[in-house]
């Protein structure tokens, strides 16, 4: 694992400095390098939680600047989710909204000097995609029930000859494969985009002063990509929910 991390070209960060300070070849240095994505993730968890706490500790009907900003984000995400899932979307707003904010912060942290994007690691994105997979399946079971879920997995139309056994069976297998592939596609898309951005920034930073204009331009693109990838991840998650929740209506 240490080799895997070391082969990536990336800018030095606080954790890598710490590892150098304690010695990269030491056990502690190896462990620090190994867990650097988790360390940055927890740092971001702490920052987001702190902001959320400060903004909402004394919620007022006439909000201050921070509460206003948080309300803008929370209200916007709620509208985004409910716009796709309808009124029942409110139940899934916290999950999808948290996912969006967390991914956005992790994506953007790679642009800040001496920080790193944890989403450039596939383990991070796969962990998040796994959460999505589990929650979508749980929501489907909860909303549709076991038979409803089975009905959803068997697909439609059904009823006569081939449609009674063969095609539903094939559809069942196809659905299982598609459900299992979703976390992989979600996680790889996010990881690859952010890893590519970070790699590009690291390479351009290596050019020295001559690479600064390109670096600035790439940073702007990286910011755009960070936002777009967070939106794509959240949007696809919302769509996965809508596919299982509004199955009967479709």
């Amino acid at each position: 694992m240490v080799e895997a991390h070391q082969t990536q070209s990336e800018l030095p960060n606080l954790v890598s400095f710490l590892a150098e300070a304690v010695g990269k070849s030491t056990h502690l240095g190896e462990q620090v390098i190994l867990w650097q994505n988790v360390i940055f993730s927890l740092l971001i968890v702490f920052i987001i939680s702190l902001i959320a706490y400060l903004a909402s500790r004394k919620p007022k009907m006439i909000p201050g600047k921070l509460q206003n900003a948080i309300e803008l984000v929370v209200g916007g995400l709620d509208d985004f989710v409910c716009g796709i899932l309808g009124k029942q979307g409110r139940r899934y707003t916290p999950f999808i909204g948290t996912l969006f904010i967390y991914i956005l912060f992790m994506n953007l942290s790679g642009i800040i000097p001496f920080l790193k994007s944890p989403t450039a690691s596939w383990s991070t994105t796969l962990g998040l995609a796994f959460c999505v997979f589990v929650y979508v399946q749980y929501a489907a079971f909860k909303e549709l029930g076991f038979l409803g879920y089975l009905d959803h997995m068997l697909g439609k139309p059904r009823g006569i000859l081939a449609f009674s056994v063969f095609i539903p069976l094939m559809m069942f297998i196809l659905h299982i494969v598609s459900e299992l592939v979703r976390p992989l596609s979600l996680s790889l898309r996010l990881r690859s985009n952010i890893w590519g951005d970070d790699l590009l920034l690291a390479v351009l930073a290596g050019f020295g002063p001559a690479g600064i204009p390109l670096l600035v331009f790439s940073m702007l693109l990286a910011i755009l990509a960070a936002v777009v990838q967070a939106v794509v991840f959240s949007l696809l998650t919302t769509i996965y929910f809508s596919l299982v929740l509004t199955h009967e209506e479709v």
């Binding site: 988790v38 909402s56 709620d78 707003t93 948290t98 383990s123």
Partner: protein, 164 residues
């Protein structure tokens, strides 16, 4: 397979736990509270709008009532003015009749007075004429006629005068 070497089970589990911690914290601090505040505010705004609509409806109703009352007041004023006009005409007519009657009385009284004065003047004139005639007759035929005979002649003369 090369790609799978990038994965770390421990890191995946740690990331899942990290996300679940964040989800729990944000559910308490952000989503529950902020969405609650947003819902309350939305509800409050809706109520305010409802109140405004109700107040507007009340104002419209009051305006309608006011206009109706104003109309009825104008109608009542017109009726009163009409009644006052009729009353004034009656009073005027009564006054005119009373004045006419009074004037007629004055005229009648005046006529009666004139008649009385005329009769009185006639009587005085008769007596004057009688006296003058007697004196004249006495002067002319002093001793030929007695007093009874004279009076008879005078009366006959006066009756003749009345017939004139």
């Amino acid at each position: 397979m090369e790609l799978l070497k990038l994965l770390s089970t421990n890191e995946i589990i740690a990331q899942v736990l990290g996300f679940l911690i964040l989800l729990t914290l944000l559910r308490v601090f952000a989503w529950k509270r902020v969405l609650g505040v947003l819902d309350k505010r939305k509800e409050r705004i809706a109520q305010e709008f409802k109140k405004i609509e109700e107040t507007r409806a009340d104002i419209e109703k009051l305006k309608t009532d006011y206009n109706a009352k104003l109309g009825s007041i104008e109608e009542a004023a017109k009726d009163k003015m009409h009644a006052a006009s009729l009353e004034s005409k009656i009073i005027l007519e009564d006054a005119r009749k009373a004045a006419h009657i009074q004037a007629q009385g004055i005229i009648d009284n005046a006529k009666a007075g004139v008649k009385y004065e005329l009769a009185k003047a006639k009587d005085e004139l008769k007596n004057e004429i009688i006296d003058l005639t007697l004196k004249a007759t006495e002067n002319v035929i002093k001793e030929k006629l007695n007093q009874e005979g004279d009076k008879k002649l005078v009366r006959e003369f006066l009756e003749g005068v009345d017939k004139l």
